[in-house]
Subunit: 332 residues, 2 copies
Amino acid sequence: MHDVAKAAGVSAQTVSRALNGRGYVSAEARKRVLDAAAQVGYSPNVIGQSLRSARSPMVGLVVSDIGNPFYARLHRAIETPLRTAGLSVLLLNCDDDPELESAQLDLLASYRPAGLVLSPATGSRFSARQVALFENVVLVSRTLPDVDVPTIVTNETEAFAAAADELFAAGHRRVAAVLGPEGASTTHLREAGLQRATAARPTRDSVVRYSEGTSLAARTATADLLASDPGITAVLGFNVPVTEGILIAVRDAGLRVPQDISVIGFTDAGWMAAVHPAVTAVAQPVEEMGRLAGDLIVRMSVGEQFDHVPHLVVPGELVRRESVAPPREERR
Amino acid sequence: MHDVAKAAGVSAQTVSRALNGRGYVSAEARKRVLDAAAQVGYSPNVIGQSLRSARSPMVGLVVSDIGNPFYARLHRAIETPLRTAGLSVLLLNCDDDPELESAQLDLLASYRPAGLVLSPATGSRFSARQVALFENVVLVSRTLPDVDVPTIVTNETEAFAAAADELFAAGHRRVAAVLGPEGASTTHLREAGLQRATAARPTRDSVVRYSEGTSLAARTATADLLASDPGITAVLGFNVPVTEGILIAVRDAGLRVPQDISVIGFTDAGWMAAVHPAVTAVAQPVEEMGRLAGDLIVRMSVGEQFDHVPHLVVPGELVRRESVAPPREERR
DNA sequence: CTGAAAGCGCTTACAG
DNA sequence: CTGAAAGCGCTTACAG
C-alpha cells in the first residue's frame, strides 16, 4: 500500500479511500491510485484490513455433517450472494457434536467474521452470549429455543405429514419413520407431522425411531424395525443419508421397494431420480434456503434493521416417483 | 491480552510465550498466565496473530464442484488432520471456471494461509508464480503440467483400464465412456486407460465423449451416444454426478441396467450400493487422499523438507455389484 | 527467563 | 478533498 501511495504520489489513506470507495477522493487522485495499484500489482491484505476494522469479510457456515449433500448444496447456494457482496464463506463441520461445534465457533469468532450461518448440532450450547460474538447470525434448517435470531426452515411438520399421508392413502396401515437425533428441532417437527397424519386416520398407526441421521445408523434402525415389527409396510426417511440407509436395510432383508416396502425420502437427491425404482421424496428448496440465508447476512451486515426478526419458512414439495405402492396385504 | 498480562502481573510478551509454548517461560509465570487467561475468558485474536506472523492458521481448499460428493468427502477427510494441527479449512468453490478460480485464489492469498490444497479447474491458470504466494501447495486428484508441487492422485489409467476391461470381459464389443472436460488431467489419464484396455482386445472398440462432468451434461451426452450409436452396450462414468446422469439417460431411453446397458461408475457413493441394480464402480480412497493431503500440508508447514517432491498415487478398486451383465446380442 | 520497543498492513478519527 | 497520527492485537527481534 505504501508502494502504491508512493507511485501515485498520494498518502496511504488516499489509497485506502480510493480503493474502498469510501469517503471523498478527487477523480484524478482515484485514477492515479488505480493505475498505480495495477502497476505495482497491489492486492490488499485482508488481515490488515480486518485487524483495523475489527471485521473479516467472511461468513462462517457451521454444519453438522458435511457428508450430507444437503449441506453441500447449502454451501454452494449461500456462497453466491455472499461472494457478490465481497464476502467469502468459511465452512466448518462439527459432526453433530456440541463440543466440537463449540470449539469451531470459538475458532470462527476469533476471526471476527461478518456473519454466521449455523445449522446447530443436536444439544448445541450456542447461546445468546455466543450470538453477541457474531453480530449477524442466521439459523438454517434447525432452530434453537433460546436464541432469537433470523431463521430459515422448511415447513417440516406439514411436509412430513403430507409424506406420511401419501403412504396412508396408498393403503399402508403401519408406517415407520427413521428420524434424526431426538433433540433436533427437525426431528421434533417432523415427528409432529407424522403424529398429525396418523391421528387423522383412526385405523392407521405409526412408529418412530431416532437415529444419528447417518446412512449407517438408519440402516441399523431400519433392519431392527423390519425384523421386530412385521406390520410395517412403509418407511419414511429423515434426510438423504437416512433414505440411503433405509434402502440398504430393505435390500439386506431381501425385500423389494415398493412391492414389499414403500419408501419416501425427505430431501431430494439427484440419484433418487436415476435409479429403479425412482425414490419418492419431499424435495426441500435447499438452493432457495441458501440464497435467503446469504441475502439476510448481507443485509444485516450493511446495517439493515428488521421490524420483526425474520422467520422464513420455505415449503417442501412431495415429488412422486416409484417407491410407493399399496402394501402386500391388499395385493393378495 | 493486555488484561491477561495485568492480571498475571507479567508483560504481554510473556503471555504470548506462555500461551504459545514458544521460548522460555518459568513454570510459575506460565501457571499465572494460564490462570489469568481462564479468569479473564481470554481467547486469542487470530487476526492479530496472523498480521504479525504473516501467516494465518488456515488452509485453503479450492475445488471445482462442491456439488460433487468427492469434494465433500475430501473436505471432511482433510479437515481432521489439519484441525489436530491447529489449522482450519477454508473451502472455496470455483465451478470449474478458471476465471473464478483465479479470483478465489487471490482472495485466499490475501489471508496468507498456511497452505493450499487445490484440485485445479479445467484450463487453470495456476502457475509457479501463484504457487509462491502460498508457500505450501498440494494438488489433489487433478495435476498441472507446469507446477512442480506435491500431488495426490488415484491410479487413474490403471483403474479406468480395469473398469473397461471388466466390460470387455463380460462380452461387450463397443464401450462408451462419458468423461470430464477435455483439458482435465483426470480425463486425459482415464481416456488413456480406456485406450489401453481397448488396444489389448483387437476385436473390441470404444468411444469417448467429453462433458462438463455434471449430471446434466452426462445425461445429454449419454442420450446422444445411445441414440446415435446402437452398437454401444456399456457405458463408463467419470465421477459420481456423471454416473447419475448416465443412469438417468438410460432410464429416459427406456432401457434397463444391466439387461440393455451395462454401467460402471468411477468413484463410489453410498447410494450405489443401496439401489437396484447396485452400481458397479471404481471406489477411490477419497478419505485416504484427504488424510494424506492434510498430513503433507502439516508437515510442510512445520518446515519439513522432502528429498523428492512427493507424488503419491493411491489405488482405486473395482467394486463389483450388479450393473454389469453380458450384452444383449450374446443373450439372444 | 523476562520486558521495552517496534511494527505487521491497514483504516479510523481528526485536523486542515 | 487530503494527509499526519494513532492504533487494531499480536509476535519478533533485541537487550538485559
